[in-house]
């Protein structure tokens, strides 16, 4: 049983602080995904958990042991690298068994574990090959096999699929997901890829600038982003934003207007908004619908007709550019004017500090 607990975890390189105090609890058996823009410190945080980077401050617990000063081999972790990092001079069999050999596992036990891992990953026929004789997907399997035989409490993955082509990525994604179900171990997974994050995670941790922006289930992050950063980062295409101010608040509905939009109603049961407040309105491209008397009017730019949906670039009066994904096929012409509406329950409001106004 090994959950993890990060308390005010910090990392600096000289004077530069890269990880700025991260608090996070990970339950045993959870699949946690770290996402964030490039350079936000995902890899650094993962490597701190692995023990490959020193921890500059704070406390890291794996299971119920503080492991700040524990060697990687004693942390009960295994890691899969983006580059696979297979030992080129060893066969697949020896690659997978290297850790067991170092741990002086008896030969028969070792053999049995290696073959078991090979069976799980369906790579028994590859055991005698050298890594240079494998395809990218096969190498990735070997790298995962190397992690499995260690029977770790916690698996760490640093963008394991980013070197694979799209189709293979989907396959491997499903396999990793299956592996998680079968092994029941805790997994921490770093990725750039939204789809990977949304499909694999029990819990997504969004990082930016070395700070946790939000932690939550994928759907929660999608529907109730905590701030502008998360709203913009999760979901594809990206959420549209426009600055507005509140006109009136009546009942559950706040009405907002701005230079680009007029009288958009937003459901806000919590009534944290007073008329006149400066706000940012966020609308997902998929939540926009065509309506003759729509409150959002813009000029049509590029139109991509995909048959099942139509992606429209819209130029708002102030010059801001929005994206709308409309149901079905819409024959729209460049330059024509288009009016759109949004379901009040789906539009989001953010205060001037960028924090979401809770519903």
């Amino acid at each position: 049983m090994a959950g993890l607990e990060l308390k005010q975890l910090r990392k600096n390189y000289g004077k530069v602080e890269v990880i700025k105090g991260i608090d996070l609890t990970i339950e045993h058996g959870e699949f946690v995904v770290f996402v964030g823009p490039s350079g936000c410190g995902k890899s650094t945080l993962l490597r701190m958990i692995a023990g490959l980077e020193d921890i500059s401050g704070g406390e890291l617990r794996i299971g119920d042991k503080v492991v700040n000063a524990v060697e990687p081999r004693d942390r009960g972790i295994a890691m899969v690298f983006q580059s696979y990092a297979l030992y080129p001079h060893m066969t697949v069999y020896d690659n997978v068994g290297f850790g067991l050999k170092l741990a002086r596992t008896p030969k028969e036990v070792r053999d049995q574990k290696i073959r078991e891992a090979a069976r799980i990953l369906q790579m028994e026929h590859l055991l005698d090959r050298k890594p240079s004789q494998l395809s990218g997907g096969q190498r990735q399997r070997v790298a995962i096999g190397r992690a499995i035989v260690r029977q770790p409490e916690v698996f760490l993955f640093d963008e394991p699929l980013s070197n694979l082509d799209a189709a293979l990525r989907v396959d491997m994604r499903m396999e990793i997901s299956k592996l998680h179900n079968d092994l029941g171990a805790t997994m921490i997974y770093v990725t750039h890829d939204q789809v990977e994050a949304m499909t694999l995670a029990d819990k997504i941790v969004v990082l930016d600038g070395g700070v946790v922006q939000q932690v939550g289930a994928p759907i929660e992050l999608y529907q109730r982003p905590a701030n502008l950063f998360v709203a913009g980062f999760i979901g594809s295409p990206k959420m549209n934003f426009v600055s507005v101010s509140a006109d009136s608040v009546s009942g559950d509905i706040a009405t907002v207007s701005g230079p680009d939009v007029v009288g958009v109603p937003v459901t806000l049961p919590s009534r944290k908004v007073a008329p006149g407040d400066k706000l940012t309105l966020g609308v997902r491209p998929h939540d926009l619908v065509v309506a003759a008397s729509g409150s959002i009017v813009g000029r049509v730019g590029l139109v991509e007709r995909l048959g099942n949906e139509t992606i429209v670039n819209l130029e708002l009066p102030s010059g801001a550019s929005w994206l709308a994904v409309l149901e079905g096929d819409q024959a729209l012409k460049r330059g024509e004017s288009l009016a759109l509406d949004v379901d009040p329950a789906k539009a989001l409001l953010f205060d001037d500090a960028g924090q979401a106004i809770p519903r």
Binding site: R73, F81, Y87, H89, G99, S132
Partner: protein, 275 residues
């Protein structure tokens, strides 16, 4: 046209190689077959009789079988020095390439200095005497290691940086201690440079003439190159024996080359295509 030019170029290269490397060797072999009178002429003539075995026997038995002692001494010095050089140079190169510290600049400067500053013989002898190592094989081995270390380190250092750091880290995660990482992961991957090192250093040390001359006096300590003196004197030189001697002591380096030849080529092309 292009093809013809490249054929001519190739032929010229082969001819040049032949003149520079093969002709002297043929000369040595021919001389080793001659008797004393004919060899004294020192010309490029066909041997009049077959005297190789006599010459070899004569050379080996001269000065109380000095050749045998010399071969044993040289082999010990070469094998031990090269082993130490490979291990130490690879270790230093590895640490130097992997761990960035403030001292790296200074250390690299010292290594370069070791390459450029000529060895000071008298102080070295003085030091060896103080350590009671002067005139001993292990003293000689230490001297060879010290003199050749900088070059080997430089060879290794450049190559270590081509081994991805991920491999070290994967090994650490797999439970490798620092020496495991070095001996089981890094050193095997350095094999191409190790071959280069073994060839270059073993030939250099085996053929070393001056250092044994300074630091290893005495008949019991003779090394192969010093046996050449047996047949050379101010007044008379037995050229047939001298060249037989040369032929005999050329054989081991030649064997090293033949043995590692394929691996040198394989090593040079190994990392070429990233697979």
């Amino acid at each position: 046209m292009k093809k013809r030019a490249s054929i001519i170029g190739g032929a010229a290269a082969i001819a040049a190689t032949f003149v520079v490397f093969v002709i002297p060797f043929i000369f040595i072999v021919l001389m080793a077959f001659k008797d004393r009178q004919q060899s004294a002429l020192r010309d490029f003539s066909w041997p009049t009789g077959f005297h190789l075995w006599e010459n070899v026997f004569e050379v080996v038995k001269t000065r109380n079988w000095m050749m045998i002692t010399a071969f044993i001494n040289s082999s010990i010095i070469t094998v031990v020095s090269v082993t130490l050089l490979v291990i130490f140079a690879a270790m230093v190169g590895y640490v130097l390439a992997r761990r960035r510290t403030r001292w790296n600049g200074l250390i690299e400067f010292l290594i370069l200095a070791g390459l450029m500053v000529p060895p000071a013989v008298v102080p070295t002898i003085w030091l060896l005497q103080g350590l009671k190592l002067f005139g001993t094989l292990h003293g000689m081995i230490l001297v060879e290691v010290a003199y050749n270390l900088p070059f080997s380190i430089i060879l290794y250092r450049a190559f270590v940086s081509t081994i991805p750091r991920d491999l070290d880290e994967a090994a650490i995660i797999d439970g490798a201690r620092p020496l495991d990482v070095f001996f089981r992961v890094v050193l095997p991957l350095l094999w191409p440079v190790t071959v280069t090192n073994i060839v270059v250093q073993s030939v250099g040390i085996f053929n070393d003439f001056t250092n044994p001359l300074y630091y290893l006096p005495g008949n019991a300590n003779a090394t192969v190159q010093l046996t050449l003196y047996n047949f050379q004197s101010q007044f008379s030189t037995a050229y047939n024996l001298l060249f037989t001697n040369i032929l005999l002591i050329t054989i081991p380096p030649l064997l090293v080359f033949l043995f590692f030849n394929r691996q040198i080529v394989a090593g040079m092309t190994a990392g070429a295509v990233k697979g």
